[in-house]
Amino acid sequence: MKRSLALATALAIAALGLVFADGTPIQGLHRYRLDNGLELFVLENHAVPLTRVQITFRCGSITQTPETAGLFHLYEHMLFKGNSRYRTETEFSAAMTDLGVAEWNGGTSTEYVTYYFTVPSAKTEAGLQFWSYAMREPLFDPAELQIEQGVVSNEINGFLSDPDHVYSSAMDKALFSRYPWRRDVGGNEAVVRSATVDTLRSIQSTYYLPNNAALFVGGDVDPEKVYAMAKQWYGTWKAGADPWKSPAPPHPTPGVSKPVYLVYPDESLPQGIAYIEMRYRGPDVVIEPKPTYAADVWGYLIQKPDGAFKTAVFDGVPGLYDKDYIGGYYYTQRDGGQVSFYTYCFVDKDKPLAARAQASFKDIVTEQIAKMASDQAYFSDAEFGVVKQKLEDEQILSLETPEKLIETLSFWWSVASTDYFFNYVPNMKHVERADVAAFLRKFVLSNVPVIAVRVNPADFKAEEDAFAQSGYSTVSADTAFWWKDGSK
């Protein structure tokens, strides 16, 4: 998952901490900033004659309102539809082929929008030039917009038959009920259908600014030459007002005032096997960075296959599937950090799922978390030692390809900050038991969860009454999305 990749690469920094190249602790990574605020990261790796060029903006669903939900995704699509240099999508695509681009794409996420491709290293400057036109001078032709609105609508409608998407949307709607549109990348089809060129221009002038972007170049390159190229093609890009000067208020913590129970009749699960999750609001990394380090160390500790946590949950909750599929994690976000616990279990009519999730699973997990927070011996010194060893091992693994580092750097730059990324491992190594305890007390023991069960529809039918009597709301494609319930 993105999170683990990001963590792995950040960990790589520690063991390389003695090597500094232009202010970064990563060997081969050079950092620059243009006068207009554009950050440039150049990673030297001469293994193959290729260059990855990626540009990332701090925006996405995080910056949405009910009236703009889905437009950042639409905007991302429209950037491929033509600009002042390549006037149509066909010209745009043809130019990439002419550059020898093997892999390209754009992606919209909750907290960033990113575009990338890989070119032969001899065409690095042409690659930088190519993206500069797209970022700075998109055309937003009305006829093209109309076509793309149809494409994006197809995509949104496709989500309605994607069980993971339905489930994820329902969880976000419950846990982030005040501002659910800030978690909804796909957005509302009606909003997408009603988008105009003016709304896209508004996004451009607010967020597609050099001082809200970072350029990542990695591969068979000379950093100083890349810096010169970047100045050539991006140096005159005009900065604008900082879009983050007055950030929106954070999602409330706890995310819910009392426990919320959801059940999702889910055809992606076979009969006889169900999934239980308990999710809390976690720390937002920019507002509260300190507990995020403790959270990540904790995440490593409870992964231990035969550790106290997995063993206690497996032994304490009846009918669980396997220790392998018991876990917990913290998901780092700028606006919507989350802490989750999950397990798979067998369906058993004598052990109703509603109660197993609502009581057994929640109680055992909470009991174990309380012990972690109060018992100094819950995690041994040896277990902390293994985490430190894993930090070093993850470093070796993450340096296998340059793409991993660029993707990771892009993620952290968007979600937290470069400084957070560069100081990540030293801060992780400073985490002590008391830090873990403080994180758990605040974000689990004093928090209120959303508890959800995913279960095959046939199994759900057999326990439908028990779910209803226990206060569970039933999730479906009609109820999972905030924009379909008419409340917003």
């Binding site: 794409n105 994690y329 798979y344 993850e394 390809t401």
Partner: protein, 501 residues
């Protein structure tokens, strides 16, 4: 499984990579709308004229010195590619045979057997494996992602190699076949299949292949089906292991900073001692193509259809196969431009060549609200390429340009993609194993760049006309009933493009 189920981040892309090949199948339901039986034959001899250069290109020359082979004590081949650039050690113990060795009613037997081998030995139970994998950031597992071969895999870091290899080898030699682990593996497979079948695209592929491969060895879907997985017993697995996990279908590939002699010695004392079992791999012939259309209802896919058409193509060893691979790279851009850009008819659209022993090509329109019209635009794109045209990538008023003016750029693009598939040691190990299994020569993949560079525009045109135009395509459309009701079946009955000679 758990990670997929609890994934939080949703990243939405403009042009997604093609989803992976479908997971296993479930029982078929009603088919609809048989179209005409096409009178069509694969070319009797290659239509491509390109020849490899007499001297290998720079890529092959640069890489050959890093590759060594040894013959293990049991006669199996060991291929070692030395890579001192990183500290990752990757090993594949690959087995030829795949679906051809397994009857459809036991589909998934090989995949389950290998998965269970990776669940511990008599000396090292699964809990011990789990501990090692966690503490050493390593993995012991299996891969069954092809109809024709599968593998046991070890990925670790240099400093842990000796410790992990000892455990890995013991699992291969003395698998525990623990009943409790068997039950968990069986459930894992069921969960995976069910999850796959809840995805309308994977559902489409599975239903399509149910029809296409009926009576063919590929009817045994390599990942199994819900019913076949349920029918497999622990005794089946023990028996399959005893009968088929042998030297006669084994090749071992290692990529990392290995010493080949030292590695061979380690293997000879362990995995290299696994004897031949006298396994006879049945020949995998061609499936019998049928130009038909199937409509499959998927209630939850309201207003959005998934369209796929598969058809036989050139053998992977034929000069026509690389010609088709390059042609599909050109076709993808025509498809995207016409179906998606011009008409906004879908989220994505692509073509593929699957180089299995029974090779086939695919045309896919992914998430469309205009399935019938999209099929016509797919044919229009094919006809353009068959007429010698690609997108005009040099700019100008003409949207299309002769292949001769663009082929070098497409070659560069394809070669760059090839580089991209060599980035990790595990990826390189897969290339070596695949080359050995399909070509009998582990270095065949090193010729890829030379092959692509030798292809002419005429080869592209000839290959597209011979294999794609008027091909006997078996189509499937998956959507809700209302969308299916609007499908114009006549559009799928035949190729509707106009090829200009």
């Amino acid at each position: 499984m758990a990670l997929a189920a609890c994934a939080l981040a949703f990243s939405c892309v403009s042009s997604p990579a093609a989803p992976t090949v479908a997971e296993p199948a479930v029982e078929p339901t009603d088919a609809t709308a048989g179209a005409s039986e096409a009178v069509w034959k694969l070319p009797g001899s290659p239509v491509s004229q390109w020849k490899l250069p007499s001297t290998p290109g720079a890529y092959m020359q640069a890489n050959l010195p890093s590759i060594e082979t040894r013959v293990l004590a049991n006669g199996a081949t060991l291929i070692v590619k030395k890579n001192p650039a990183n500290r990752i050690f990757s090993m594949k113990v690959a087995f030829r045979g795949g679906s051809a060795l397994v009857p459809p009613e036991k589909a998934g037997l090989e995949a389950m057997t290998l998965a269970l081998i990776a669940r511990g030995s008599t000396t090292y139970p699964y809990a011990e494996l789990q501990r090692l994998q966690y503490e050493k950031s390593s993995s012991i597992g299996s891969t069954a992602s092809s109809y024709d071969w599968s593998s046991l895999d070890l990925n670790t870091i240099d400093k842990y190699w000796d410790e992990l290899f000892k455990v890995f080898a013991d699992c291969a030699l003395n698998p525990a076949f623990d009943p409790a682990q068997f039950a968990l593996v069986q459930n894992d497979f069921k969960v995976s299949i069910q999850k796959s079948m809840a995805d309308p695209y994977n559902y489409a592929v599975t239903k399509l292949h149910d029809r296409m491969f009926a009576g063919h060895p590929y009817a045994a879907e390599f990942g199994g089906t819900a019913s076949s997985i349920s029918s497999i017993t622990l005794d089946d697995i023990k028996s399959y292991y005893a009968r088929t996990i042998g030297a006669d279908r084994m090749v071992v590939v290692a990529v990392g900073n290995f010493d080949a002699d030292r590695l061979a010695a380690s293997l000879n004392a362990t995995i290299g001692a696994i004897p031949a079992k006298g396994v006879v791999i049945p020949p995998v012939g061609r499936y019998t193509p049928k130009a038909e259309l199937y409509l499959e209802k998927f209630d939850k896919s309201k207003g959005v259809a998934y369209v796929r058409g598969d058809y036989p193509i050139a053998d992977i060893k034929s000069p026509d196969f690389p010609s088709l691979q390059l042609a599909y790279s050109m076709l993808d851009e025509l498809l995207f431009s016409i179906v998606r850009t011009d008409h906004g008819a879908c989220y994505s659209v692509w073509s593929r060549a699957f180089g299995f022993l029974n090779p086939y090509g695919s045309l896919v329109v992914y998430k469309t609200d205009k399935p019938s019209a999209a099929k016509g635009w797919v044919d229009e794109s094919i006809a353009l390429l068959a007429s010698g045209k690609t997108l005009n990538i040099k700019g100008g008023d003409d949207k299309y340009a002769p292949i001769a003016s663009t082929i070098d750029a497409y070659k560069a693009k394809y070669v760059n993609a090839f580089y991209g598939n060599q980035e990790t040691n595990a990826q390189t190990a897969t290339q070596l194993a695949s080359s050995y299994i399909y070509f009998g020569d582990h270095t065949e993949y090193l010729r890829f760049i030379d092959k692509i560079n030798a292809i002419s525009p005429e080869d592209i045109v000839a290959a597209v006309n011979a294999y794609v135009v008027n091909a006997p395509i078996t189509w499937i459309v998956v959507a809700d009933q209302a969308t299916l009701a609007g499908v114009d079946k006549t559009r799928f009955a035949a190729f509707t493009g106009t090829v200009q000679q």
